[in-house]
């Protein structure tokens, strides 16, 4: 599922919204700028990206690299593991991340799996 910093509580996203936010086409939720937090590798991310975006983790990172390196968007915050991503998202206003429901305590739920 897509989760976020507790300050995003109350925001919900449908499938199109998830796609728009993860691909950088929508940059705010409410009045808060979105900060994507992404683990360099992660099974939960892989399982979420393919059905929602049709991308592998590698393709997703390439998509963002294209945007960031050409002035088209702000890069996701990349951490090593999904656990690191959860820790960072918990303390970063506007942060969103892909997480499993068993490890989303304290985070806002933006979109169900």
């Amino acid at each position: 599922m897509l989760a976020g910093h507790a300050g995003l509580k109350g925001q919900t996203l449908d499938d199109d919204g998830v796609k728009a936010v993860l691909l950088g086409k929508r940059i705010t939720l409410g009045s808060t700028r979105v900060v994507i937090v992404f683990a360099r590798q992660g099974e939960v991310q892989d399982a979420f990206l393919q059905p929602h975006l049709g991308m592998t983790t590698n393709q997703f990172q390439n998509h963002w690299r294209r945007l960031f390196m050409t002035g088209g968007g702000s890069a996701p915050r990349i951490v090593e593991t999904e656990a690191d991503a959860r820790k960072l998202a918990a303390v970063t206003p506007g942060a969103i991340l892909i997480a499993d429901s068993a490890h989303a305590a304290g985070l806002a739920i933006l979109a169900a799996p």
């Binding site: 199109d16 728009a20 086409k25 929508r26 940059i27 705010t28 009045s31 700028r33 360099r40 393919q50 975006l53 049709g54 991308m55 592998t56 590698n58 393709q59 390439n62 690299r65 294209r66 960031f68 390196m69 050409t70 002035g71 088209g72 968007g73 702000s74 890069a75």
Partner: protein
């Protein structure tokens, strides 16, 4: 587009746009600072600045005596790019800049300049405004010409993405509106509309390209404006997108100089000044890309058109109708986390048809064709370092430049030849 910093600051409009946006953002600071000190805000801002960069070094060599992308017949390492960027985003605003340098044969010359420098304001998903030096939206890959890390190929298909025309293709000074319009079950549309201009150095590859059939010394090349846009449909089939890009260069003119001796020395030498000019140079490009699992398939087909007038010493010598047709189809597959393979077929055809002439004898120009079959392998050595190798078989030599400093007359070129490339890139 790359310009020396001093020239950019003096001549471009982007600093004005950048400063206006920065001032607008600063005017909002008192409200934000109500509960935090200025120092705290600046510390927070400095920590939020993102940095990125890359440096690449390549090698190119081909069989036979054609010199294609530099001195490739002998083998050349004059093939590198490097860039460093920084950006900062807050709310609906984003500020960013990239410094870039390159060398590709005799072009680029390792001069550092501003590659892009933009201010973004995006109040809604369907509407945003970007101003400054902006990457030109054209086709699937024009904005990522230098990003080796996002593809397996050493060289993008040269029929559509000619590396020697980077100064002409990469970016413009001006403004662009953009957005993504959701279409519910029909997917979504990405649109971009832009207006600006492109300052081009006289020693840029674009100057040689536009005078390939009249190899004379380039003095200057300029245009009144560039305008255009792109419309891409992200179809309901996940991974499939297709679109159309258009750009038009208004009053594109290159100033040339030619000399001829009236006899053996010490006979005087005559110098002629001339221009090659067109009211409108128009470019169209259709694109389609499909990403499915580890596969990425792409195809693009384009046409460029212009009616040129050639003047020498004020006399209208001839008019010719230029048309360039381009096409490629490519496939790439990620095999393992450290290996990606790719291949493409690329074709270009340029024709210059004389439609009016005041010359005493008829003039005609050869049709310039080139087929390019490429196979590539990319090795991800670690998360920052990649190495690529690539082989090409080329049939035809229509994309070779014939210039004053390096004559390569069409009839003298190898028509069937192989090109080998390798490149290592470090990015962060």
């Amino acid at each position: 587009m790359k310009q020396p910093l001093s020239r950019l600051i003096l001549k471009s409009r982007w600093p004005t746009a950048f400063l206006c946006a920065a001032a607008s953002w600063l005017l909002q600071m008192p409200a934000r600072a109500a509960d935090r000190s200025i120092a705290e805000l600046f510390r927070e801002a400095a920590a939020s600045v993102q940095y990125g960069g890359f440096v690449s070094q390549g090698f190119l060599v081909n069989t036979g005596h054609n010199d294609y992308l530099g001195n490739t017949s002998a083998g050349t390492a004059d093939f590198r790019e490097y860039g460093l960027n920084a950006s900062y985003a807050i709310g609906q605003w984003r500020f960013g800049l990239q410094v870039f340098g390159q060398k590709l044969g005799e072009y680029g010359d390792d001069k550092l300049g501003i590659d892009w420098a933009t201010v973004d304001y995006q109040p809604a998903q369907w509407f945003g405004l970007r101003a400054g030096r902006v990457k030109m939206p054209r086709g699937l890959y024009n904005e990522v010409l230098d990003l080796d890390s996002v593809r397996p190929f050493v060289l993008l298909p040269q029929s559509v993405y000619d590396a020697r025309l980077r100064d002409f293709n990469a970016a413009f000074d001006g403004a662009m509106i953009f957005g993504n319009v959701p279409l519910k079950q029909l997917g979504s549309l990405d649109y971009r509309i832009f207006y600006g201009d492109i300052p081009i150095d006289a020693d840029a590859g674009a100057n040689d390209y536009f005078n390939n059939i009249f190899p004379t010394t380039g003095i200057d090349i300029e245009m009144d404006s560039v305008r255009g846009g792109s419309l891409f449909w992200n179809t309901p089939l996940t991974g499939l997108r297709t679109g159309y890009s258009y750009s038009s260069f208004q009053n594109l003119i290159s100033f040339r100089q030619a000399t001829t001796a009236l006899g053996p020395p010490p006979a005087p030498i005559l110098t002629f000044l001339g221009t090659t000019a067109t009211d409108s140079y128009d470019r169209h490009l259709l694109s389609i890309e499909y990403a499915k699992g580890p596969w990425v398939f792409a195809a693009e087909a384009g046409r460029e058109q212009a009616i040129y007038q050639v003047h020498i010493s004020g006399v209208r010598l001839l008019d010719f109708d230029f048309q360039s047709d381009q096409f490629y189809v490519s496939a790439a597959r990620r095999i393992t986390p450290w290996l990606e393979l790719g291949t493409y077929y690329s074709y270009s055809r340029n024709e210059d048809l004389v439609v009016r002439s005041t010359l005493p004898t008829p003039v005609s120009f050869p049709v310039l064709k080139q087929h390019d079959f490429a196979v590539s392998a990319r090795f991800d050595i670690n998360k920052n370092l990649i190495f690529k190798v690539e082989g090409h078989y080329l049939n035809g030599a229509g994309k070779i430049f014939d210039t004053i400093s390096h004559p390569q007359h069409f009839a003298d070129r190898d028509k069937s030849w192989f090109l080998f490339g390798a490149k290592v890139t470090y990015s962060f």
